[in-house]
């Protein structure tokens, strides 16, 4: 084992296209339900890709109206997920000094809904009508700042931004803060809410989104031969991290150990992944070394697998080379859609729950696996969740810009 202090997960929170909290999201995932729907807004009618995985529970049902009107939707979901995790952890009642509580919360895009909405106000009514809350609502550290305020964190509030790896990046930063003794409790996570014409048009222009408009629930199909792009999702997820000794001392529930993390960059292209997943494989290898584990220990990988033609095969190669063919692989974006900067956090929550419940979620819509040799070689769980004896699991997250993150969780 490694020489680092043990870091454990003591609280989980989420609001997602599958449910308004962790329990409902996890139940829906294991039941094989899809969070994807066809949008019906007027603006979407001329769009090539008309699908999104929108929130199962409207934030307005979970957050006070006056509070909500000062928060961008990305901040609202961040606060909802973070407060669930925080409450569940019991950390609020543990007497931790606010100066020893830190927050690391990432987002891929930030307050784009506010930015674009206020630009509409500016164009239509002029500068005096722009909201005084525009800047605090659109800034990319907005979700982190709102979460920090919500839990009274005064030990530092940080906002990593690495596109679709942001949520995982936040978890890695949290791990580092605890190992460096910069804090005693760290609330980490990711948030995203950009189901809006401009981001949708931008991703569509990259030909990155699925256009399977007539079959919403079948559109996100990682590793399947018929995949044609990702489905944009929205939501947030959060985890409370602490050192194991102090968490045990206060009688907290320990869900899993965050045993290691690895981060690399492809250095290959701004958006295209390295075709063999070289950087991704290095991230997984680094995370396993950090955790003091060998590839043979890993029983499950929650793949980043977004359902794009090039991304999934590159990742399959990386998993095959860095972990091996024995591991059970899941691509949960098949049901949640792609939550961008929240994806790494949500999939870490799923990875923790897989270890807790000793079950690997199924990959929906994987009817006909890609001919790629690595995809064919991997044991990708499909049709039904699979019971398994798991001691260690990996969550992969990658982002435009060539960011690769791998996180290793283990049972206690």
């Amino acid at each position: 084992m490694s020489s680092h202090d043990d870091v454990v997960v003591t609280g989980l929170g989420a609001t997602t296209p599958l449910g308004g909290d962790v329990a409902s999201t996890w139940d829906a995932l294991l039941a094989g339900r899809s969070g994807v729907r066809r949008l019906t807004d007027d603006w979407v009618q001329q769009f090539p890709a008309q699908l999104a995985a929108t929130l199962a529970t409207d934030p307005a049902e979970q957050i006070d109206r006056v509070r909500a009107r000062r928060l961008d939707r990305s901040q609202q979901v961040a606060v909802i997920a973070a407060e669930e995790a925080w409450t569940a952890s019991g950390a609020a009642d543990a007497g931790v000094a606010p100066e020893r509580i830190a927050v690391v919360f990432g987002t891929g895009i930030g307050g784009a809904m506010t930015l674009l909405g206020q630009d509409d106000v500016l164009e239509a009514k002029g500068p005096k009508r722009v909201s005084p809350f525009t800047i605090p609502m659109l800034m990319p550290n907005g979700p982190a700042a709102a979460v920090g305020l919500a839990v009274g964190a005064r030990g530092g509030v940080h906002a990593p931004v690495s596109a679709c790896a942001s949520g995982a990046e936040a978890i890695r930063w949290g791990l580092d803060l605890l190992r460096l003794d910069r804090a005693d409790v760290v609330l980490v996570g990711g948030a995203e809410a950009v189901v809006h014409p401009l981001p949708m048009a931008g991703f569509a222009a990259m030909r990155a989104m699925s256009t399977r408009n007539d079959e919403p629930e079948r559109a996100s199909r990682p590793f399947d031969k018929g995949r044609d792009g990702f489905v944009l999702g929205e939501g947030a997820a959060a985890l409370v991290l602490e050192r194991a000794d102090s968490a045990r001392a206060r009688g907290a529930t320990l869900h899993a150990r965050l045993a290691g993390a690895g981060a690399t960059a492809d250095g290959y292209d701004l958006v295209a992944p390295h075709p063999e997943g070289e950087g991704a494989a290095r991230a997984i290898g680094a995370a396993l070394r950090d955790a003091g584990l060998s590839p043979a220990d890993v029983g499950h990988v929650n793949a980043h697998a977004t359902s794009t033609p090039v991304g999934d095969t590159a990742e399959a190669s990386a998993i095959r080379s860095a972990v091996g063919e024995h591991t059970l692989v899941s691509a949960t974006k098949s049901q949640t859609g792609h939550l961008l900067g929240a994806a790494g956090a949500l999939e870490s929550v799923f990875t923790v729950l897989a270890l807790r419940d000793q079950v690997v979620p199924a990959t929906a819509n994987l009817d006909d696996p890609d001919d790629d040799a690595a995809v064919q070689a991997l044991d990708i769980v499909r049709r039904e969740p699979r019971k398994a004896t798991l001691t260690a699991a990996v969550n992969d997250s990658f982002g435009f810009g060539g960011h690769n993150l791998a996180l290793v969780f283990t049972t206690l």
């Binding site: 006070d64 109206r65 006056v66 009107r69 000062r70 005096k128 009508r129 909201s131 005084p132 809350f133 605090p136």
Partner: protein
């Protein structure tokens, strides 16, 4: 007249800052008693202009400390 203004102001305060209308009485301080921050004051000024047709310049906004100050300002500058 001032009752109408008070009622209108109370509506604005409820919408913008969640203040219970019964609490929006003349002696109340926006920041001390009603927990209205400086950015919300800017929103309130915009809403006052919409509702009463009275613009509150930034240098005047700083002098408006209580609900009563706002009522007087609106009364003085209306019509």
């Amino acid at each position: 007249m001032s009752e109408d203004i008070q009622a209108g102001l109370a509506e604005i305060l409820e919408e913008v800052a969640g203040v219970t209308p019964a609490d929006a009485t003349p002696e109340k301080s926006f920041t001390e008693d009603l927990d209205v921050d400086s950015l919300s004051m800017v929103e309130i000024a915009t809403a006052v202009e919409d509702k009463f047709g009275v613009a509150i310049p930034d240098d005047e906004l700083g002098n408006i400390k209580t609900v009563g100050d706002a009522i007087s300002y609106i009364q003085k500058n209306q019509g």
